[in-house]
């Protein structure tokens, strides 16, 4: 029974929740898998912190919360600091490399950085850094197909911004593709 646990975390305004919605919708609506998405609604989530948890599974998701995340997407330093310890041994850490310094480092992890904000700025809107990260995650993990994510983006983003968001997604995919294969598989 394959069960993948993913946490995406950053600060408010980075589109953390939307990134989770895009991936979750892609996996369940367009790939027919079982997905449960939860968000932290507690007082600890107030202020700048935002995070979203996804479980993608081949069977119905019974326990709906993360137990040991396989993948952490850290979009802010605070997100890294707060959540890196919970990542499972040999887990995958994807991080916004201009915003996160991986200190203290966990040397068992596969850690891959992407300058998502800068790549988004090159497209004209810093706002779409979340889709760069979704593309990066898709490219690195193959967890969800690029086709499914593209359809999901079209369903999920505000009307009129589909092509900008899709470009950002491709920018992330391309960035992953350009990494040395050794860096990805480690």
């Amino acid at each position: 029974m394959a069960r993948h646990e993913i946490r995406i975390a950053g600060f408010g305004g980075q589109g953390v929740i939307l990134a989770g919605m895009v991936l979750g919708r892609a996996a369940t609506i367009y790939e027919g898998r079982h997905v449960t998405l939860t968000q932290s609604f507690g007082p600890e989530a107030r202020g700048s912190a935002a995070s979203v948890d996804l479980i993608v599974a081949s069977e119905p998701v019974l326990y709906p919360y993360l137990t040991e995340p396989d993948i952490l997407v850290a979009m802010s330093q605070e997100a890294y600091t707060r959540f890196v310890a919970a990542l499972k041994p040999q887990g995958l850490l994807l991080y916004e490399q201009d915003l996160v310094s991986c200190e203290p480092a966990r040397c068992d992890l596969r850690a891959l950085g992407v300058p998502a904000t800068r790549l988004a700025e090159e497209l004209g809107r810093k706002l779409v850094l979340n889709m760069v990260l979704v593309g990066f995650l898709t490219g690195v993990t193959g967890l969800v197909s690029a086709e499914a994510v593209q359809k999901s983006i079209a369903d999920s983003v505000p009307k009129g911004t589909e092509s900008l968001n899709t470009s950002a997604f491709h920018r992330g995919l391309d960035y992953a593709a350009a990494l040395q294969p050794a860096a990805i598989s480690k």
Binding site: R25, T28, I29, P43, L62, P64
Partner: protein, 385 residues
């Protein structure tokens, strides 16, 4: 009759339980909601307020939960299908009007997205501590129908059922969600409108001169009239006769309250609904509802992997309680384990129905998080020894 295709968002969606509950209400024909926002239920009415102008409905944000819960009863007598939504302290404030709805036989739906209590408790975290309050919270004798969804899909489905039960039995119906189910996002498939069966209003077709607003039909339920259609009626929370006028005496009390209780109790089998899993050979029967049923099911799977004959009974309709099924299972099971996110509420019903024929074990949780399946498995192992 079936749902109005103009209002139903047919197709697959990725949405949370609260939004799904709102769409279920709209699909059921709800055209009026009143509410006072409270976490973790707010998204239901927030969405309804946004959808209302598109589907020809009305949303009123009231000054508090007392006003919200009485506004929906007035709306129902005015011809609307109406609901309100709340949680925790707000549910406590609505108790008076749940009783009024039962006494006046006003079809109405009350959604309670349960959070940790007592008092303001845990606004953003789950619990299942209002199960008995939903049944007994208002004063006097009455019966209630209550439903407990365990997924966003069921939030949609059971809202439709709630409105159908409300119309069919002319009774308040409570949808007992919990914060986990309300706030989790999963795939929700909304069927075609033609596939959504709706129980029509019980509006009378009699001539106005022949109509008695509280004269029951053979099934114990009176016909309804809508304000403005020319029928004379009087609605009161006082004990009343078939004309709807106060009749403050013991025989009338016996007749009315006996009928109010009987119209639900006599149909308990028709209303009952539960999901059963691996009960055919189960010696250890888990009883769980709402979000807790999912973690209990996981524990049951783990027990089965260890060849422990465990099964799960998941009441979907929690009130009336499925006591007949519990009695049947008690005759052959070794133990019931009631897993609930409270300090022991529905366990009392299980114990009562089992009547000592088999052991009943409570696995409580104060709320704020769901049980870990591993912890439930430990209790299953103990019970199986």
């Amino acid at each position: 009759m079936t749902a109005d295709p103009k209002t139903v968002l047919t197709g697959p969606h990725f949405m949370d339980g609260n939004h799904a509950a709102c769409e279920g209400a709209i699909a059921a024909g709800a055209n009026f909601a009143a509410g006072y926002p409270i976490t973790p239920s707010t998204e239901i009415v927030e969405r309804f307020a946004m959808r209302a102008p598109l589907v020809g409905a009305t949303f009123l944000q009231m000054e508090d939960e007392l006003a919200s819960s009485i506004a929906i009863l007035g709306a129902a007598w005015g011809g609307a299908k109406a609901f309100t939504v709340t949680s925790g302290p707000g549910f406590s404030l609505m108790m008076e009007h749940i009783g009024y709805a039962a006494m006046t036989e006003t079809p109405s739906v009350f959604v309670n997205v349960q959070r940790g209590g007592p008092s303001t408790g845990l606004p953003t975290l789950p619990a299942q501590g209002d199960m008995m309050q939903a049944r007994w919270g208002s004063h006097g004798d009455y019966e209630i129908i209550a439903l407990s969804p365990s997924s966003p899909q069921e939030c949609f489905d059971l809202m439709v059922d709630a409105f159908n039960f409300a119309e069919q039995y002319r009774n308040p119906v409570i949808v007992l969600m919990d914060e986990s189910v309300g706030h989790m996002t999963e795939k929700v498939v909304i069927p075609a409108a033609s596939q959504i069966e709706l129980f029509p209003h019980r509006y009378t077709r009699r001539a106005a001169a022949d109509y008695l607003p509280f004269q029951p039909w053979p099934d114990g339920i009176p016909e309804f009239a809508r304000a403005g259609d020319g029928y004379r009626f009087h609605v009161t929370g006082l004990t009343h006769n078939e004309h709807g006028y106060p009749a403050i005496n013991a025989p009338q009390q016996q007749e009315l309250v006996g009928r109010l209780v009987g119209k639900i109790r006599n149909h308990a089998e028709a209303i009952a609904r539960a999901e059963e899993c691996r009960l055919e050979d189960a010696q250890i029967v888990l009883v769980a509802y709402g979000i807790t049923s999912r973690v209990a099911l996981r524990a049951m799977q783990m027990a089965r992997e260890e060849r422990i004959p465990a099964g799960l009974l998941r009441p979907i309709v929690v009130w009336p309680f499925p006591e007949k099924r519990i009695r049947e299972l008690a005759a052959r099971a070794r133990a019931f384990i009631v897993v609930e996110m409270n300090y022991g509420q529905m366990v009392r019903e299980v114990e009562r129905a089992a009547a000592g024929r088999c052991k009943t074990i409570l696995m409580p949780h104060a709320g704020g998080a769901v049980h870990r399946p591993e912890a439930i498995l430990d209790i299953i192992r103990e019970a199986a020894q």
